[in-house]
Subunit: 304 residues, 2 copies
């Protein structure tokens, strides 16, 4: 509701002064920034990109800018990023790997919009969305059992993330369900990386009754395992079969191509954003816990 004349005058002034609004003033006045922060461990993890894509697509549609911060698993850094929320510099946070304890998280989630995506802490009111990791572990191992494997090793994460513990549980359930014996030596802990998989597998191969199949906590770990197996002069899948996790792009690029569990990464991100938008609008969140379906992707590392 402005007359064309004043509009002209204003626009001329804008051009003359090269005027750019100061968002700090605007945001202060409006009490919102329309920025969403995604806090993740490190962008080097290839798992995240698709998740972020889902977050971005929905976020942009609603006029939000998405920004990403790396914690490198340091809880202090995570805390300082969460402070950006508490101190009103961002409108909401999607937390991909909470390091701080559930008490602290609950506290923040009580007053500000936070959603946990993929990884989460138990015992908080902060909504979370992920796959059923017990079920996914079960799927992977049960598949190996159906292929005829009776001695199956697992390479898990030493960091004791909930997802890792749950996948181990799925592994155990599958063994029990098939009447196979489980013993502690069959789960080795390592980093999620290549060397973690490599070392754990070398250990496996030293065992007098070595596994004929390995279920790894991530694709990169699985590739480390494959390397170790090849270095010993063994063949995949003939001598040892390998299953990874996440279906990251490397899984179909490697030689042999990797059988793996696929998470619906785009939807994990998108639905996280959906819930976050509800929280920001102060609407009641329909579900505090959402679990999406996983999928077994069969490739060369388990079957010819």
């Amino acid at each position: 509701s402005v007359s064309p004349k004043t509009r002209d005058k204003v626009e001329k002034a804008i051009n003359e002064l090269n005027y750019q609004p100061n968002y700090l003033g605007r945001n202060l006045r409006r009490a919102e920034t329309r920025i969403i922060l995604v806090i993740l461990q490190n962008i080097s993890n290839p798992f995240y990109s698709k998740v972020v894509e889902g977050i971005e697509d929905l976020g942009h549609k609603h006029g939000y800018t998405i920004m990403i911060c790396n914690t490198d698993s340091e809880s202090d850094r995570e805390r300082s990023y969460l402070d950006l929320l508490v101190n009103r510099l961002v409108d909401g946070v999607i937390l991909m790997e909470p390091e701080i304890d559930s008490e602290e998280l609950t506290q923040i989630g009580n007053d500000f919009p936070v959603v946990q995506c993929c990884e989460y802490k138990e015992g908080t009111d902060v909504p979370h969305i992920s796959i059923d990791n017990v079920g996914a572990g079960y799927t992977a191992v049960n598949y190996l059992i159906k292929l005829g494997h009776k001695k199956i090793g697992m390479i898990s994460g030493y960091n004791r993330l909930l997802s890792a513990i749950q996948r181990e549980e799925g592994y155990k359930q599958a063994l029990r369900g098939a009447g196979l014996d489980y013993n502690q030596d069959l789960i080795k802990l390592g980093s999620y990386g290549f060397t973690g998989g490599l070392r754990a597998t070398k250990d496996f191969l030293q065992m007098e009754n070595a596994p004929t199949a390995i279920f790894a906590i991530s694709d990169i770990t699985a590739i480390g395992a494959i390397r170790a197996i090849k270095e010993e002069g063994l063949r995949i899948p003939d001598d040892i079969a390998v299953v990874g996790f996440d279906n990251t792009s490397i899984a179909s690029m490697y030689d042999p191509q990797l059988t793996t569990i696929s998470q619906p990464r785009y939807d994990l991100g998108k639905i996280s954003m959906e819930i976050l938008l509800d929280l920001i609008k102060n609407e009641s969140v329909p579900q505090k816990e959402v679990y999406l379906e996983h999928e077994l992707i069969i490739r060369e590392s388990t079957i010819k």
Copy 2:
């Protein structure tokens, strides 16, 4: 300079109200946010993580928070992220792959702290830091020539990034320097991805006088090339040698391990941040153009 009594009173009030300062007010008043924005194409590119690490390490030391945004190569998104700088929501920007034209970039760089890192536009006053891509292309191809290869193909990027054009120039210089003939069919353009490398290589292998060595614009492209070569039943490096670029983690994980050109990624990030800090402090920038050394990493894909 506050009496213990008032301090107590204030602290009690802080606790009672659960007071958290509003950074929007603070930043408005201080006219700074102490946030640096890193604008990159997509976090899925494994090249970036080490660069960001360098940026973060130095940035944190100076009390800055580092945030990352994905452009997905869309200039509109890049523009909207640069607006965050123009509109005072961030104190500086490190731009890893400028999409907007040099005029627009110069304009922004004139008024605000911007540094171009790795990729850059020519004809701007905006400082940039990178390796000498002509030299790097030369190093890679000259190495293949020294190994005895006379027919060398290159897989470059169709997006015509300056770095790609420069590496092609280095490729040509090396051929010329050795008195080898160059023809246009020996450079194929593709995406920087796996399929780009795969397809280009299949094309190469169809040629009646196919190359005995391939220089790829990225490690992932090189891996696509390797896949294509293997699928044709040829051996690496016996039948065809392959050189990649960037020395990303996959290079040492793949089978065969990949010979590649390593960029000093951490330092590229760190020095970008150094220059940016100078710009923010309004100090004169010693150098508008910085070039760091590259390094040839020799592995299994070129020599047994």
